[in-house]
Symmetry: C2
Subunit: 471 residues, 2 copies
């Protein structure tokens, strides 16, 4: 019995498409009502989560889609998962919802256990956690830790602030508010608040009109595919990109406190970097005294075939911080160096210090991932799916090119011939009962749940084949 | 029957203090265990939320405190409130926890109702909402809306971006990433992420070592008390502060897209501004083309005797945005101008666009506030309490001075003679069974729940009297 059959005995066996256009009339009606109070322009359809089941999402028109987008890569196990429903009904969850604590000042007696449940699946080399609320929040909290750490190295971890630092920070001026930088990469996405948007470099729409920090952008490798036929070119590409990083670490007008990078650039087009590239980056950060932050907001929690995507690289030493969110429902960063906890309390601090309700869900997801061996499932199904897509790629070389994600479980993407062709493809897939998402300008990304099985993969491949054959 | 008796038939009738020191031995033991994975230096005690009830919080040593700090002003109704427990157990809550949606793309069919429940108590003049996750997040989302609005006024709301804007924002440079400012006030607290910390000006510890935007700080009125004896001085203080604001709006090197201000500066010391000051500010923002953002993160949800504290000022026209969080458990901003929704979709956007689980709790709190008339209760109890504290202030003029919050329900504060005296006072209050918080350098702030009654006020006043008499 497959994992999805175990969890979801009544999961649909195929999509149902009842309306001739998507969104259907009822979705359109409800969207219009919602638009009086909320920005509904990005709405694809109004969902019926009560009727969604496993890998299938239902809408209010009675359409039921196989979902390989999964709330922008945010659903780990599938809809109405029985283990998560149990966690949601637990007495500790009721307390977390009703008695939301200021966790830094008044943690509850169950808080240690809640964190331990998450830490059981911490990335290799990490044993501590700081909690946030979203991916952008997690990255900015990691930036804060990095900046405090950088200054602490300068003044000494145990040394207090100078009077000048205390006075100037109240005026937002140096040295109390120093000129320091985070180095990120072109095509990166790290969030849309002000510091995270300053590190983001995916599309103008993500950051235009926002004042920003003048932080440097290196280049992320742009490989030729298939990888096995282009080893020499791609190796040179790694070296080219690492040289740019080294120049920026050397030359940038402000010290680079940390480098932040995605193991696979996701919003930016599912761009991959090799283990050699990442180890080179680890080496450079050590050489120049910058921290290395791995942003696993989209790549984390099993979808690439390891709990955390950067574990494929076996980095030595481990990265300094690993940020998470999305599939884990909660957010924050893992770390291990005790000196990443600032020298005084109330520096890395806020009212809530995370949300225990969402942390309980994260712990429940972690338990299921381990107990049900879901990463092995994702790997097996991903390899199977990748093979089928390789065949399709030969059949449709223009509309299914640059297939990427081999050996990365179901974290698979490819390019269409243009933005228009991609958007048409996504719309036609919905009309054929498959909810799938794009990234960058003309890429398609697959982000199914960890319970996505071979039967779902077959259905997905058949639908892609049908849609592309109708071109 | 008082409100608290209705909700909490078994609420303790008095605190219980079992340990000779706080935190007690069991709290210390559990804190030590927690410290291996979490920064526990700010921990006051480890709470037992299961045993907490109404206005009383229990710890793991069996101590039970009357709580007038309430998770840094974040508990609206009291611990284990039956109406919130019901909301936490509802099928819509289970769905919100288990099927966390990307609300911008795939809102659920119950989302409109969830928002409407919150909008029922929107500030006067506001009828739309954008959702965030914390107070800092809410303020930064409001900043984003303000910056996009400012640039849209310049280029025309329906006008697209120029090629130059699109190219330069990818380099974090002007004109795509423009030099624009948010004006805030000295002693203000608006959060600790990078843009919010750039507006925050309360204490060095809140922002030191973080790179910051060079944004201007005006002065918030510093009144003499009691207000009725110092009308002339305080009126002149309003004018002095407004003149500083006008100079900054006029002269600052970057255009000021918005002014953000707390109706009562809370972390910064419970500093009040008059209705005349706030109307003057409203007039100046209109004159200079800046938006007015009222930060009601700590002041909102009834504790000042109106649902939103700025409603005391009857501002005309209404502020452009009102941010909220804390007592509402959810977060975001209210607004009314349709042009505060950016011209293109996916500009004000992120994966989750808020948390429906926390929004459901906010709606349930709003319903209780209205149905149980909790604002009237807070007002009546607050007036009663203020009268008693005025008497104590005469008895202890040094350690209970500058009493403020008259006519602002239970949102009351005063000054101790020094930081040390204040911290001693807070520690002794805990040893006498009352959990109370400080703000600024040497102030004490009361932040009880909306179900705080006269009997609780009597107990609080008696304990203050006892502690101060032992000096």
């Amino acid at each position: 019995m497959s994992v999805s059959e175990t969890y979801y005995p009544s999961e649909p066996t195929a999509p149902v498409v009842k309306t001739s256009a998507i969104p259907g009339p009822e979705s359109q009606k409800q969207t219009k009502e919602l638009s009086t109070v909320f920005d509904t322009r990005p709405v694809y359809f109004v969902a019926d989560y009560e009727k969604s089941n496993g890998n299938y999402i239902a809408d209010v028109d009675g359409n039921v889609y196989l979902d390989v987008y999964a709330q922008i890569a945010s659903i780990a196990l599938g809809y109405n998962n029985p283990a998560l429903i149990e966690a949601a009904k637990s007495p500790e969850m009721i307390r977390a919802l009703v008695e939301r604590p200021a966790l830094g000042n008044f943690p509850g007696k169950d808080f240690k256990q809640i964190l331990d449940n998450i830490l059981k699946v911490a990335p290799k080399g990490q044993d501590k956690i700081w909690s946030g609320l979203s991916g952008a929040d997690a990255n900015e909290l990691a930036f804060k830790a990095a900046f405090m750490h950088y200054q602490a190295k300068k003044r000494g971890y145990a040394t207090g602030f100078s009077e000048e630092e205390e006075a100037t920070t109240m005026l937002n001026q140096s040295p109390g508010s120093p000129e320091l930088a985070i180095l990120s990469f072109k095509r990166a996405f790290h969030g849309r608040l002000f510091a995270s948007a300053s590190a983001t470099c995916s599309k103008p729409i993500h950051k235009i009109d926002l004042p920003s920090f003048k932080w440097p952008k290196a280049e992320y490798p742009d490989y030729k595919y298939p990888l096995e036929d282009n080893a020499e070119y791609n190796d040179a590409e790694d070296k080219r990109c690492l040289a740019i990083v080294e120049n920026l670490l050397n030359d940038w007008h402000a010290p680079v406190a940390a480098v932040i990078i995605e193991p696979i650039q996701s919003e930016g087009g599912d761009n991959h970097g090799s283990a050699a590239f990442f180890q080179g980056l680890r080496d450079l950060t050590l050489k120049y005294g910058s921290l290395l932050i791995i942003d696993e907001v989209q790549t984390g929690v099993g979808a690439t075939g390891t709990m955390w995507a950067h574990e494929h690289f076996n980095l030595s030493p481990a990265p300094d911080m690993v940020t998470f969110s999305k599939k884990f429902q909660s957010a924050g960063y893992f770390f291990h160096d005790p000196e990443l906890v600032p020298n005084y309390s109330y520096r890395q601090f806020n009212t809530w210090c995370g949300d225990p309700a969402r942390m309980i869900i994260a712990g429940a997801i972690a338990k299921e991932v381990v107990d049900k061996n879901l990463i092995a499932n994702a790997k097996e199904v991903g390899d199977y799916l990748f093979g089928k897509l390789e065949e399709l790629s030969k059949k449709y070389p223009t509309e299914l090119s640059k297939l990427r994600g081999k050996g990365r479980a179901t974290f698979i993407a490819w390019d269409a011939s243009s933005s228009e062709a991609r958007n048409n493809f996504l719309a036609k897939m919905k009309l054929n009962g498959v909810n799938v998402g794009g990234c960058a300008d003309h890429s398609i990304r697959l982000r199914p749940t960890l319970t996505f099985g071979k039967k779902h993969a077959d259905l997905l491949v058949a639908t892609i084949d049908k849609v592309l054959s109708e071109n």
